[in-house]
């Protein structure tokens, strides 16, 4: 079965694929942020949404942000995304 993220990972020949399995984040046009492999939301406000990932934490800054979808291991942030930082 075609997997979008697996296809991209296969192109990274110099990196061991085992190190690429922590989480996936996809920013679509700065309006939609799709995350796979989150470990829990820590901050939710209309200007900032933060969530934990394996070995780190991701902070999304923007305007009019809200959680479009939240499941056990995926989330989707919608709004005007200005910045995303991984700590």
């Amino acid at each position: 079965m075609f997997n979008f993220f697996d296809e991209i990972k296969n192109k990274a020949s110099s990196i061991d694929n085992n190190f690429l399995n922590d989480y996936n984040i996809l920013n679509i046009s700065g309006k939609l942020l799709y995350v796979e492999g989150h470990l829990g939301v820590t901050i939710i406000s209309d200007s900032q949404i933060a969530f934990k990932v394996k070995k780190g934490r991701v902070v999304v800054d923007g305007e009019g942000l809200f959680l479009c979808e939240l499941t056990d291991n995926t989330l989707t942030v919608q709004g005007k995304i200005n910045k995303m930082e991984i700590f």
């Binding site: 829990g40 939301v41 820590t42 901050i43 939710i44 406000s45 209309d46 809200f66 959680l67 479009c68 979808e69 939240l70 499941t71 056990d72």
Partner: protein, 376 residues
């Protein structure tokens, strides 16, 4: 609003932790936090009862919760037994009544013919149930019962019976009331061209006004009589006569316009009131009329007598002075009996005299088609 979701508004601290826990079993959609401790989100309708328990477990207060979407509306509707019963009743009623004919439309004929056919169809229907209506049989019945219908087609459209009739066109020889052709003139027949019917005259016959010229029937080779509208071209020399009198001496009366009115009220034959007035006219004419005033209690009658003053004049006029005019008047009187396009064959006049009185008799002979019309 196709997606069916339950909207939840919650109040409480550390909602992130609660959401993380809840999202392990229930997916959260469109989570927004407009205030610090108030958040709102949606879950699938099927999870609505579950989300209430989970929120309680997480210690969040539910401020508002409501279901949205098409499926939810259907579910709500399904619980409204009255509406469902009403809908079912309407559907059943519609299905049942759709099997019955409610209206009959007749097209094609005159309004009176259509009305007759409509009444006939109504009376012929044993039932208004569509399946029991035999349109073929109805067509046959209409054709056999109405002479003015040459063909008919019947269709059931919706809840109407559409009857389409084609009026019968009778052949020309079968139309009319079969009255004989009767002469409207006095004359001698000069030419006959019989089209249909039986002749009752011949060339050279002298006919008078009212004489039958063509009988309204024909006889076939087997001797059977059958009625037809008589038609013939019968040319005759007919004559018309008129006379005008002239008196060399005569007295004329002319009303001057002056009147005197005498009013009388009568009880029976007894005059009980009269407006006395004197008749001052030397010569006058009298007109009188009566009008009932009351015949309930007393037979009172108002009688009016009007006296018109007249001037009497003696006129002396010699016939020779007005001869041409008198002859012209007589000719005009004679011509009244002919149409303008009649062919005049001959015209003459005679003058008879006696004691100062002259009588001009004017006779016009013309060629007229006296068979061109029937008495009908």
């Amino acid at each position: 609003m196709i997606k069916s979701r339950t909207y939840v508004k919650v109040k409480g601290l550390n909602q992130e932790r609660a959401l993380n826990n809840i999202s392990k079993t229930v997916n959260i959609y469109n989570y927004k936090r407009n205030e610090h401790n108030i958040g709102e989100f949606e879950v699938e309708n099927s999870k609505s009862s579950q989300i209430v328990e989970l929120l309680k477990k997480e210690g969040l207060e539910i401020v508002d919760i409501k279901s949205r979407g098409f499926v939810h509306s259907l579910k709500t509707l399904s619980k409204s037994l009255g509406i469902i019963a009403g809908l079912i009743f309407v559907i059943v009623f519609y299905i049942v009544q759709y099997n019955f004919v409610l209206k009959i439309d007749v097209w094609g004929g005159e309004s009176e013919e259509n009305r007759l056919v409509k009444e006939f169809v109504q009376s012929s229907l044993t039932s208004n149930f569509k399946n029991s209506i035999d349109t073929d049989e109805l067509e046959l019945l209409i054709r056999s019962n109405f002479d003015f219908v040459s063909s008919v087609s019947i269709a059931i459209v919706g809840q109407s019976i559409i009857v389409n009739i084609n009026p019968a066109t009778m052949p020309d020889e079968m139309q009319g009331q079969f009255q004989p052709i009767i002469s409207n003139y006095n004359g001698i027949i000069t030419e006959i061209n019989l089209i249909q019917g039986t002749l009752n005259c011949e060339v050279g016959s002298i006919v008078q006004e009212g004489d039958i010229l063509v009988m309204p029937y024909m006889t076939d080779s087997e001797g059977t009589l059958y009625e037809v509208e008589p038609r013939a071209e019968i040319i005759a020399e007919v004559w018309s006569q008129a006379s005008v009198s002239h008196y060399d001496y005569k007295i004329t009366k002319t009303r001057t316009g002056k009147t005197i009115t005498l009013n009388e009220v009568l009880l029976g034959d007894i005059v009980i009131y009269q407006n006395f007035c004197e008749i001052v006219f030397e010569d006058y004419e009298i007109e009188s009329y009566s009008q009932s005033l009351s015949d309930i209690i007393l037979p009172l009658v108002l009688r009016k007598t009007i006296y018109y003053e007249v001037e009497i004049e003696e006129v002396f006029q010699d016939f020779s002075e007005v001869k041409d005019r008198i002859i012209g008047e007589a000719r005009e009187k004679a011509l009244i009996f002919f149409d303008k396009n009649e062919i005049i064959i001959n015209e003459n006049y005679t003058i008879s005299e006696g004691a100062g009185c002259y009588i001009v008799n004017y006779t016009i002979t013309a060629q007229v088609d006296i068979g061109g019309n029937s008495a009908s």
